[in-house]
Point group: C2
Chain length 348, copies 2
DNA sequence: ATCGTTTGCGAAAACGATTTCCGAGTTCTG
DNA sequence: CAGAACTCGGAAATCGTTTTCGCAAACGAT
């Protein structure tokens, strides 16, 4: 591969001048600049990013740590983050942590050794060893999608409280009163916040959310399917359910269909995220959108700002959200207990 | 950050010795080795990958070029590739090309400058400028999921011909005779190959696949939904359809449901890929699996072999596939024209 | 006319590893 | 016991940039 030295020789200038032409870091006479650019083109020169990074201590690289690459909602973050990072002329190096602290720490270690310019975590946990490692360096990082308890870490989240409110108001507006919630893991702050928004909107309308109508899931599809069994045992039967993400909501719908029930006639179901799968299932899922692109861009920009500020920021950016109404929610069937439901129960 | 020099000083040895301890590249006495390892631990030393890469001309990095990160089947490749690359102690840098030659070339340029050890393409096109750029270097690359016309490029694909056969045999075995196919873009070799396997199995059984029962899609969900309109106009009505990927198959199912039809009673539908979404929709999708993990691992290993061989290989690895039967296929309704279908037609 | 600043450029020192070369001591081998 | 072969380890070159420093000329302001 051609190096700067070759360019310099061909253009009859020094290496420094070539560097200055490329990085525009110091004034260079128009004639010499032309000669250098010519030489670059002629020998098809490409600056070596490793050498540049070694000297300038910037790998031109952003790291992205994801708990599960193939998770439908994370993949949206990945896509938009990659796009935005690319626009900043950086590369994106990605690591699947499998939610395992050791794998996560190993990945972060790798990133540190690579002189990355910043790291984005999707859903890191509060007592992550990786964060400790990073705090021992000057590498900026941002947590995406999950606010940490300790307020010292820069985060970008959606407006989880409002998300809960929007879901509740939508279901209430349709005339439901027996509404359940399938949450994510309740030790995760964002789940509690979504739940708070949800319950607050319910109580504003004079409704309660009894404990036995709160089901705790794990954000995965199967968790929705499993919950259906419990749902069908509620007495009196609930008429609507809000799941705290789409995968679980889709699981709920699948489980209901498996039991011969019809959505939304027998039960309204809503989710959170607005992943593309929402439009693939029937009925199409009503949901509260997660602003994936805006969040990803905010995270990358926050990183860049941290870098140029040269110090850790503690900002917490919250991106607004909105309701997307599709087919999985409708007014409750008017009879208190749908005859169809009764039949199904008897069949079991 | 601590450097090798610091370690050397603390352990009272030379830099070379530290390097040898770390890389196990030359015998080192047990006592000195211990001292060095101690020092490494004490000052929490991390070798700098940029410096190492600069000298050794290996970035310890694999590049992955994907046409669309958020595409459900690519994300499976991404996940398993990342896993496998990690096991080889490398990093994975990912780029979304949006199927755009310029974006692709730009990404490859970036990778070359970073001294990557190899590049995996998912579905690169035959006349890609990126491939020309790479051929001017010694960087090994592998094309995953799509065989190129020119046989000179190492590829890893699934057994597309057999996939078509399996689908046809399954539907024939259920008693279908009027079977249609929704293909991917027919200028893509793998689509033609899948179609060949499909038609061959049909003709072996004494059936033909008339041209008007071959629909050309673009591998996307919407493409399936749109095709339903055409499907319902076939006369006599087809009773089964095989889509060349799951997203289109799921689109077909969605479209059929939108028209008030019932799958598989009114029409059997099968796909290819076995993405997780198959188990999320109702009915769950019968499909021919794409061996994502085996393919990803084969690609990475092929890359590594190319690297250690020090020359371009032209291997074409084909991974076997199998049928996964779920709920979306069933014997055809016995009446030639289902009364339900008739009703629906009249309703339109 | 003088002093300070900006422009323009080259030489050389980093950056932090790997790798080559070399030499001294030890162990085989015949 | 001589010579070959292997073990162990240091010095120094090297990878390809960026960056600091220095110097000369040109420019602007007092």
């Amino acid at each position: 591969m051609a190096s700067m030295k070759d360019v310099a020789k061909m253009a009859g200038v020094s290496i420094s001048t070539v560097s200055r032409v490329i990085n525009d870091t110091h004034p260079v006479d128009g004639r010499t600049r032309g000669a250098v650019e010519d030489a670059i083109r002629r020998i098809n020169y490409r600056p070596n990013l490793l050498a540049a990074g070694l000297r300038s201590k910037s790998g031109n690289l952003i790291g992205l740590a994801v708990p599960d690459i193939a998770h439908h909602s994370f993949e949206e973050f990945i896509k938009h983050t990659e796009q935005c990072v690319r626009e900043h002329k950086h590369g994106l190096i990605i690591g699947d942590t499998h939610s395992d602290p050791d794998a996560e720490a190993e990945f972060i270690d790798h990133l540190i050794r690579r002189n990355v310019d910043g790291i984005i975590f999707i859903r890191v946990s509060d007592q992550s060893r990786a964060l400790d490692m990073l705090n021992a360096t000057s590498i900026p990082y941002v947590v995406l999608d999950r606010a940490l308890e300790s307020g010292t870490v820069p985060t970008v989240t959606m407006d989880n409280f409002t998300a809960g409110q929007l879901a509740a108001e939508h279901l209430l507006g349709l005339g439901h009163s027996r509404i359940a919630c399938l949450t994510g893991p309740l030790d995760v702050a964002l789940c509690r916040e979504r739940l708070n928004g949800f319950t607050q909107a319910l109580s504003h309308a004079g409704h309660r959310l009894p404990d036995q109508w709160i089901f705790e899931g794990d954000f995965r599809f199967e968790s929705g399917v499993r919950t259906v069994e419990l749902l069908l045992d509620t007495e009196p039967r609930i008429t609507a359910l809000w799941a705290q993400n789409d995968l679980m909501a889709i699981g709920i719908i699948g489980g209901l269909i498996d039991h011969g029930l019809v959505v939304p006639r027998d039960m309204s179901v809503a989710g959170v995220d607005d992943i593309v799968t929402c439009r693939m299932v029937r009925p199409q899922l009503t949901t509260v959108s997660q602003p994936f692109e805006a969040m990803s861009r905010a995270a990358v920009q926050l990183l860049m700002r941290e870098r140029s500020a040269g110090k850790r920021l503690t900002e917490r950016i919250v991106i607004p959200t909105e309701l997307v109404v599709r087919q999985s929610t409708a007014p409750p069937a008017d009879s208190t207990v749908s005859p169809h439901l009764k039949t199904q129960k008897e069949l079991l």
